[in-house]
Subunit: 404 residues, 2 copies
Amino acid sequence: MEYIAGGVTAPKGFKAGGVHCGIRKNKSKKDLALIVSDVMCSAAAVYTKNLVKGAPLYVTMENLKDGKAKAVICNSGNANTCNANGIEIAKGMCDLVAGLGVCESSDVIVASTGVIGQPLSLEPMKNAIGDLYKSISYEGSLSACEAIMTTDTVVKEAAVEFEIMGKVARIGGIAKGSGMIHPNMATMLVFITSDVAISPNMLAVAVKEDVKRTFNMISVDGDTSTNDMLSVMANGLCGNEEIKEDGEAFKAFKKALNMVTSKLCRMIAKDGEGATKLLECKVSGAKTEEDARVVAKSVITSSLFKAAMFGADANWGRVLCAIGYSGADVDVTKVDVAFKSAAGEIMVCSSGAGVDFDEDKAKKILLESEIEIIIGLNDGSGYATAWGCDLTYDYVKINGDYRT
Amino acid sequence: MEYIAGGVTAPKGFKAGGVHCGIRKNKSKKDLALIVSDVMCSAAAVYTKNLVKGAPLYVTMENLKDGKAKAVICNSGNANTCNANGIEIAKGMCDLVAGLGVCESSDVIVASTGVIGQPLSLEPMKNAIGDLYKSISYEGSLSACEAIMTTDTVVKEAAVEFEIMGKVARIGGIAKGSGMIHPNMATMLVFITSDVAISPNMLAVAVKEDVKRTFNMISVDGDTSTNDMLSVMANGLCGNEEIKEDGEAFKAFKKALNMVTSKLCRMIAKDGEGATKLLECKVSGAKTEEDARVVAKSVITSSLFKAAMFGADANWGRVLCAIGYSGADVDVTKVDVAFKSAAGEIMVCSSGAGVDFDEDKAKKILLESEIEIIIGLNDGSGYATAWGCDLTYDYVKINGDYRT
């Protein structure tokens, strides 16, 4: 099981691409992406729990009721959320794909990302869909990934190759997301493809289990988006016998899926709006896995802690504080905290109280761009990891005037 | 019922003051405050729900078990939290007050605020307590208020005069708090005094009811402090018959208390770390008061919305998003949103969808220093107000290197 190049087009039989169609004013920025499988796929998705949901999510939910899909269409620059005719536009986007002869309109996964509450016209997409379809290719993942970016500063692709039932299989994914990142159930936009044969039910089980430990464990700013969605399409072209139940093959699939999703999570957290540092909080010794998750997420979500990390300030009191208000069942007198990076590791708190430590060494460790916060709760065997980023001047700048 | 000058020394029979004792290096910054009543008081307090609690809170809880207190001692510059000998130091602070002949050690409310996890020595306080006691006066509220400040940029005092059972009575308060402000149950440090006669039980009821609508409704950064505490001491010197049950007098007391606490709340939110704007979110038409509270607090807590307000950007999609993920029972298709300030009022969202509005007018409104966000949920009669502030470069700067 190893990482390979390519994103959604790493698995067999998936074409992808992206173009600038005109939703965005900046002509050098692609704003419409298309992913198409050569054959029908098992498909599953998870969605934001925000009560305010983008119209495309409702259309996708309807289309995935049969657990089947063949294509993804997604625009950036406009979230198609809180618009009077949002459902009509989202269905219109599916119809555009159907008009290409790719599949029925009801076999399309549709998504939008960008500003909320701005009217979205189908016109530019209608004009561009023909050229977009011509442009998609078996190497087009990067182009599709570029077309779904908003404030992202880097493309986010990951793919894994692994063996399943004697066949060589692949899972690949692309993701976008930089602000409004605090997923609850699903996240941002993530499109995953695979050439594994797996039933829609088992695919749904694998996705739900995975997001609990991956996308639900990242936070940039505590704001859960209205348009969060993660979808997986598996087309079976690697040639394995369809996975229909738990077992070796399902475990291998889940492990490969987790390799792709956890890599995308790290990329999203590291590219958080304005971020200069990736924060990876590893909690062990919790009473339950859920307690570990709650603690890890509370720490990487704390604005005070995030600002301290921006300043490379080993202010472990902020960590203790965030553990204390997390709501997890923790004995605060047992808590150990250490900071770790490429520059070394340093213990700063033991049994809930401060220890003497070398401030210069701590500073050196925290000046690196990837920081691990290692928390031992010493009260059980639950563990979890959460990913976040520092809070910087640039986060404020980016969001002080996002719409213009 | 009207606001008057003075804070904790506005009510009859309370002396207060503050000195620099040496916990802080900066000699021009006072760091030890004392409030003393001429006679024994009914007393009540509420405390942070953070599992990590400052040692002084445990000592105060113990001392207030009998509902009586006569003095408050509070240092700034060190939170006395996560220290091995914290309880000993906090008790030692009470003993210093007892040593002055003011009252028993168990009649003292003790508090600390500042950095977490740094050893605190009793020595500088022991050396200064005599001079501090000499310096307290019936006009000393401001001096005490200065001595409890940390990153606060303005002093926070409020007092109200009102009639109760034919007597002229007063309630006054001082508060500190600028960062780590997201109270849950109590908040920051708030010391309130009154010359009303009221039983400890009724005082506790009044305080619990009030904080639900005041201090629990403010947020600067979503971080619930380890040292939050609000205490009230009522000494009865205004001469009214002791309030022992609900009725006219209790209602008047609660109303006056709310005038003091809501004013302090506005001051704390407006002086949030790095803040340039006070945000006051008024929610009406909620199914329940609790739903209104949840929605109001979610909006003023959203980092994205806070950054948009810093940029005077009328990005109402951020408001809808924060309502949607708040967890409150809301019909998002009924939501109206308007922005209001000294420069006017503008409707930006109606029935959950955007309305055409004058961007220049919106900008002008949002450039003011006090902004109201008016949300109509049109689904019931619950209402609530929450107070917050914008998210700015200076918040990041202040917290990037807090300890030095």
